[in-house]
């Protein structure tokens, strides 16, 4: 067998890497923070594309919605409140950081020498725990998507922790930036002087579709790429889009800032609650096999989850369903809360400017 002159996969990898390098250099070089933020969004999209090339669909999805989507919006909110330009720093101050970066880079390159080849089936990551996951997931949990099974069930405690991190971010931003605009003071769109008719009409059609897509991502997570984190961010994007097109006043009437914060806490409570139910039923914390007592399980109609004769995992299925719902609630409401926090400050800043 002859090896082709240029392996297509290899060429794709090199091209994506060069793109990343070029974007990273541009981010460092540019003095406009707006340009830097948009370029970082592009960076995230390229990373997402690269992760797809590596067949890591779930991670690629997350990178696209979080890295390119929501964090761009948050960063834009931040420069609205501060400055849009970089202040030039004396080069002497940059010597030590530059040396540190070079050292860390050197260590990373050195360490790469000890890593197994990409996709090597004999590598430790693919032959130890990773292989057991692939072999046992269907029998233990019954979910076809191993990534979801690992995140939600095998390592469900980590995911509870990560959901808590999101909630902590909600608490932190609310403490720092306040609670967003008061419902009665938030501006609404002046319909008579409106130049955004096209945007309004289009987004009216889009927003329901975005929400529908979020729900698809949420409930399809067992089978394909997706889950509560991605769905939560997409859901939040729908709300944020509404706020940008129709004005904060309209949005805060429908999604009140106080309610958003409560939902963020409630998501964590729901997740923990599932764990506690398992615990009360005699299992360990988050052991979904104990989610239903045998009496309850007997009441579930057979055939609800496909072939009634096959072994089924009611507890695992519903456990994952509920905890993913908790993740969705916390992520979506936290993202909206963070947006409100920035938006509320922006309104204050504009008012202060007009007043002075």
């Amino acid at each position: 067998m002859t090896t082709p002159f240029l392996d297509a996969n290899f060429a794709l990898n090199v091209a994506l890497l060069l793109m990343l390098l070029a974007i990273a250099l541009a981010v460092v070089r540019t003095r406009s923070l707006l340009a830097a933020i948009l370029l970082m969004g592009v960076y995230s999209f390229v990373v997402a594309a690269w992760l797809m090339v590596m067949d890591a669909a779930d991670v690629a999805f997350t990178e696209a919605v979080v890295g390119a989507g929501i964090s761009t919006i948050v960063l834009l909110g931040a420069i609205l409140l501060t400055h849009g330009e970089v202040v030039r720093v004396n080069w002497r101050l940059q010597v030590v950081p530059a040396i540190l970066v070079l050292v860390v880079g050197g260590v990373l390159i050195y360490a790469a020498g000890g890593l197994p080849n990409f996709g090597d089936p004999a590598s430790p990551a693919n032959s130890h725990v990773g292989r057991i996951y692939l072999e046992t997931t269907y029998g233990d949990i019954g979910a076809p998507n191993v990534v979801t099974a690992v995140l939600a069930s095998y390592r469900g405690f980590d995911t509870l922790g990560e959901t808590t991190v999101i909630f902590a971010a909600c608490v932190g931003v609310a403490l720092m930036l306040g609670f967003g605009p008061r419902v009665d003071t938030a501006p609404t769109v002046d319909v008579m002087g409106d130049h955004h008719v096209v945007l309004r009409v289009i987004s009216k059609m889009l927003i329901p579709l975005i929400v529908l897509f979020a729900l698809y991502v949420q409930f399809h997570g067992d089978l394909g790429a997706g889950g509560g984190f991605q769905a939560g961010v997409i859901m939040a994007v729908a709300v944020i889009l509404h706020a940008m097109i129709f004005g904060l006043g309209e949005t805060t009437k429908a999604f009140r800032p106080g309610v958003m914060r409560s939902i963020s806490a409630f998501g964590v409570v729901l997740y923990t609650g599932v764990g506690i139910v398992c615990l009360v039923n005699g299992g360990g914390f988050l052991d979904y096999d104990f989610l239903f007592t045998p009496q309850v399980e007997a009441m579930i109609p057979p055939g609800l989850l496909g072939d009634p004769d096959k072994p089924h995992h009611w507890g695992q299925h519903f456990g994952i369903l509920f905890i993913e719902l908790g993740v969705l609630l916390t992520v979506a409401s936290t993202m909206v809360s963070i947006f409100y926090g920035f938006a509320g400050r922006t309104i204050e800043a504009i008012k202060a400017e007009r007043g002075s």
Binding site: V107, L108, Y110, A111, A112, G113, G114, L115, P116, S123, P124, A125, N126, S127, H128, V129, G130, I132, Y133, T136, D140, S153, Y154, R155, G156, F157, D158, G161, E162, T164, V165, F167, A168, A169, V171, G172, V173, A174, L175, M176, R261, S262, S264, A265, F266, V268, V269, T272, G275, I276, L279, G283, G284, F285, L286, D287, Y288, D289, F290
Partner: protein, 507 residues
Amino acid sequence: MILLETLYVAPPTLTAQAPVLAIIVPLLGACAAALAPSGRTGWMISVIASLFGGWMALAVATEAMREGAIVYVLGGFNPPLGIALRIDAMGALLGLLIGAVGALAAVFSGHSLVAEVRTEKHTLFQAGFLLCQAGLVGIVYTGDAFNAFVFLEISSIGTYALIAIGEGRDRRALPAAFNYLILGTVGATLYVIGVGFLYAATGTLNMADMAARLSTLDQNASVQAGFAFIMVGLGIKAAMFPLHGWLPGAYAHAPSLMSIFLAATATKASIYLMARFLFEVFPDGTAFGEAFLTWVLAPLAAAGAIICSIQAVFERELRRIIAFSSIAQVGFIFLGFALGSAQGLSASVFYIVAHGLMKAAMFMALGALALSIGARRLDEFAGVAREAPWTAVAFAVGAASLVGTPLTMGFLAKWGLIEAAIASGQIWIAVVMAAGSVLTVIYVGRIMEAMFFRAPAPGAPRAKEAPLGALAPLLALAGLSIWFGLDASIPEQLSQAGAARLFEVRP
């Protein structure tokens, strides 16, 4: 003498679930506090959740003493497939420290928050405080390297925001919080990169499994890099010299509640995690082993202990003096690790507890004084002992323990470290500790002289004795430093049993 095994703590059904309850009860408390209708309710939730968490930590400690080590499997999947909490006697002791200081600080916050933080932020403040507690207990209890990262993040994110809230009293809290945010995030990122390399080399995230697989591996570049990344990452979090730049500002300008809790627990959890990697995950000879202890950890720890003590001597602001002193004490703790012996490790863990209790008492006393006077510089504290004798005495007990006065826990802690150093034949470490102690006497002496023997400046605001609700937890903390100075059996048993077990199972 009180033996932990003979205590009846909690009913068996509760004890069986205590490891996870010690984490999730503060977590649920945080959610409840965020929803609380008023600051007062938030405070009550915080007190109840912290007390319950502390109670569970006590149950875990008795159980760990009886069993040697507890493994609590989460989700019904045995490690390495699932996540397990793994608590040995040392982890249980650290959990107990976090639980005890957390509960006392929560009680104290009833008065302190009202004085320092705007009313509408109280509920969220308590939520953040409980999240920190849940995260720190998680770090010391977990048996999984990645799970530790998740808990590190939970505790850190809460901490950043809560330090920044100090801006109401001291504008410097904002840059301090920002510094800590950046450095803390860098530290956590380095840690997770290191865990990634170890996963690539071993295929597992469970610490015990990782240790077993590492001992069969040859020297490998990614294992070495993983070790280096983890040590530097946790070194930043633990304020190891010279990675301590974030600490003085964060401790000095944060609201009192955060200063108390952070100084007693936050760096300690990272230090303990570092000890687990050094002595549990990396068996002898893997990565850098002894060479790291002798040529990196020991010199840096010694330099930190001396240099930061000197900085404390020349600092003018009281809270900053105590903050610099904390970095120096972290140096002492690392000197114990650097001995590489069971005796050194157990002495260090005992020192962690002693230092946590004394610093909590000192910062709480300053918080109690802050209720009546807004003093920052040392001279502004002149003569406060006459106006607020109980608060000053509690501060003095903490300070005496810091110096290492006999009959306080600090004395036993210093003595244990010096004894361990001499037993390993590392006389120079004993000498460094003695020199550091002399410097401690100098700066503590300056503080004591101002508080007790100087007359207040004419026209200066007069300090008042703190109300009973703030004084009670303060005196309890000071009392603990004396109790363990007279009868150290509880922390001694736990630290010795844990260290001995760790060195026995090492391959």
